[in-house]
Structure formats: C-alpha cells, structure tokens
C-alpha cells in the first residue's frame, strides 16, 4: 500500500474536516492529492497529533484529522495517552507507517522492529485502533471513522519511498493564516485580532 493511494481514497470523503499533516512528503503529497484551505501542512515531528487534539477538544462538533507518521508519533507517544484519556469523538489520527525515516535517508524506525503502534494506541485507551495493510481496508475503515464516533487511530502500513512531489508554494505562516481564516469563515468567529491604533481590549 502506498501513502499516495490512501490520500487519493481519502480525498473525496472529506467535507469540512480540519487536517494537519506531518513534515516532508506527507505534507507535499497531501497538498497534491487534497488541496484545500482546511489543511495545515508540515507540522513538526511529534507535534501533529497534539495540535490536532487541541483542535478536536476546542471544536468538538467538527471532524479533525491528523496525517501523522511513525517517526513523528514515536517522538511523542504520550500524546496517545492524552487522546485516549480525553477521547474526543471527532478525532482521527491516520499514521502512515513506512517503518523508516524515509525523508532523511531511510533508516528504520522502531516499527521496523517489534513496536506496533496500533497496539500501543489500544493500550493508551483508544479502542478504535487498527493496523491496515490493504487499500480496500483503508477505504472501509476511513469511511467508518468519518461517520462514527472516535477517537480513531488508523495505522497504515505503507511503502517506504520518496516519490517526486510538486513544490508547495506557500510557507507555514501563509498556510496558518489561510487555515485560520477558513476556520473563522466556517465557524462564524474571529480568531485573528491584530492590534489596532486606539483599541484597548479589556
């Protein structure tokens, strides 16, 4: 199974969910397959699922999705415990597990050895945690996750590869502004409150 295949399957399923992606090719491939204003790309390793947890807890009526990786979640495994304990029903963590640090040379991660992330997620209290090896199974479980109560952790065993990707002509700050403006528009709220001459908030 390839990450790009999963993203192509996921693309038509998305509506107004908020998506945060891991670094490197996960971000680039997401931008190619599912370009949308509700995506925040290239969050730092270990920070993807925690940022999504903050979104999920703050907007409990709205679906939020982490497109994380094995190397990333291994950097911050405590996040699985926090997701398990707070159990936001609107959170889906899709972990693309290629058993390697593919973007930086391909050295193996712990999941190339004995570590199984879906079992760690279950032990952290996340009942809906699955390891997926076939694209048909991904389609089935992603459909259920988007329709049902979470939290969900879908550990997708994918090839370790570095396919060519298109450049993403947007830095993190522009991406952040667009992401926040999208939330403001769709939630009917104001988040960005820059200083204005003469204004004194209480």
């Amino acid at each position: 199974m390839r990450r790009s295949e999963c993203l192509k399957v996921l693309a038509p399923m998305l509506t107004d969910q908020l998506v945060v992606t891991n670094v490197a090719r996960t971000g680039f491939e997401t931008h190619m397959a599912i370009p949308r204003e509700g995506n925040l790309y290239t969050m730092g390793m270990g920070l993807v699922t925690p940022v999504v947890l903050g979104l999920a807890l703050s907007l409990p009526h709205r679906g939020v999705i982490a497109l994380d990786g094995d190397g990333s979640i291994l950097l911050n495994l405590g996040a699985l415990s926090t997701v398990g304990n707070y159990a936001p029903q609107n959170l889906i963590a899709i972990i693309f597990d290629n058993e390697s640090y593919a973007s930086t040379g391909g050295l193996p991660t712990a999941t190339a050895g004995k570590t199984k992330l879906n079992e760690m997620a279950k032990a952290a209290g996340i009942a809906n945690a699955f390891e997926i090896r076939q694209i048909e199974d991904f389609k089935d479980l992603a459909t259920k996750a988007l329709a049902g109560k979470g939290p969900w952790v879908l550990v997708c065993k994918v090839q370790s590869e570095k396919p060519p990707v298109e450049p993403k002509l947007m830095d993190g700050r522009e991406n952040k502004y667009r992401f926040v403006r999208y939330i403001e528009q769709t939630e009917g709220t104001t988040i960005l409150k820059p200083s204005v001459v003469g204004r004194k908030d209480s």
Binding site: L47, P50, V51, G54, S58, N76, G78, R173, V180, D201
Partner: protein, 168 residues
C-alpha cells in the same frame, strides 16, 4: 502557592480572557492547577509533557481559544522544540505561566542551573517575559500578555518568582 493566591491568579487569568489550560503537575503550582482544573471557566487538559501541552495549546488557539500552559520552569526547557517548530514557525501564540525554580531565593540545588539559564533561554526564543512577585499584579499582567499575544502571534511568558509560589 497558597489557596488565596491561587484563586486570585486563576480568576485574573479567566477575567483576562484565557479559557483553555494545559497542565502538568508541579509542587509549587498545585493549588493553582487544581483551581483552574475545577473552574468552569477553563477547558483543561492534563498532559504527559510540556512540549505536548504547548502543541495542544497551539491547536486550541487555531480553533479560537485563548490558551495558557501552566508549567514548572524545567517544563520550559522541555517545550523549546514545540515553541520553535510550531509556535514560532507558524506564528501561534500561547501564554506560558511558570514557576521560577532556581530563581533568587530557591534553596533546591537541583533547580539552580535551570533558573540560571531561564532568562537567556526565553530571550533566545524571542519570547517576551515578565517576572511577577505578587498575585495582585496578575490582573494587569494577564491583560498585557493577551494583548501582546494577539499582536505578535508569538508565545509570551509570565514567570512567578519564588516568593509568590512558596508563600504559605
């Protein structure tokens, strides 16, 4: 920190508009963290490390919350990666309300080095910081912190000194 100061500080924090709190237990902050966790004015998340807590706060801010992480001094060291790779990189504010372990008057040998590097550490991350020694200063300080957070889109630090956090 005594109960009276904890209530004063917690109330001031909420009055200034903060409504989302990440916490990890610290002995000098227990009363404040317990007050905030019980308060209906905050959505509170108990985290496993302060870096995770900062990242959760970042997500909360993106969703429209005004976040604070209440943490021990050493937690700022643990948070540096999240603060730089997430908050500073994308331009996301969060208030860090911390102790000043190793600050002037701290008698614990193991805290000395952490306290000694704290000012330079915050400055190196370009994080505006204020050391506060009285609970009565907090109301205006929290309002100022929120204004700076909104204008700079960068984390802000308020450090409570040893006298305040160890007052009986």
């Amino acid at each position: 920190m005594n109960q009276s100061d904890a209530e004063t500080i917690g109330t001031a924090l909420a009055d200034a508009g903060f409504n989302f709190a990440a916490t990890l237990p610290a002995d000098q902050l227990h009363a404040l963290q317990a007050w905030v966790s019980k308060s209906q004015r905050f959505q509170t998340v108990a985290v496993t490390n302060e870096g995770e807590g900062c990242a959760i706060c970042a997500g909360a801010w993106l969703a429209g919350k005004m976040p604070v992480i209440i943490l021990e001094t050493s937690g700022i060291l643990l948070s540096t990666y999240a603060l730089m790779r997430c908050h500073a990189t994308f331009g996301i504010p969060t208030l860090m309300l911390s102790t000043y372990r190793g600050g002037l008057g701290d008698q614990e040998w193991y805290a000395a080095q952490t306290g000694a590097v704290l000012p330079d550490l915050l400055q190196s991350m370009r994080i505006p910081s204020k050391v506060v020694s009285s609970a009565d200063e907090m109301a205006t300080t929290f309002v100022d912190a929120r204004r700076t957070m909104c204008s700079s889109l960068h984390p802000v630090s308020i450090v409570m000194d040893v006298r305040l956090t160890t007052r009986e």
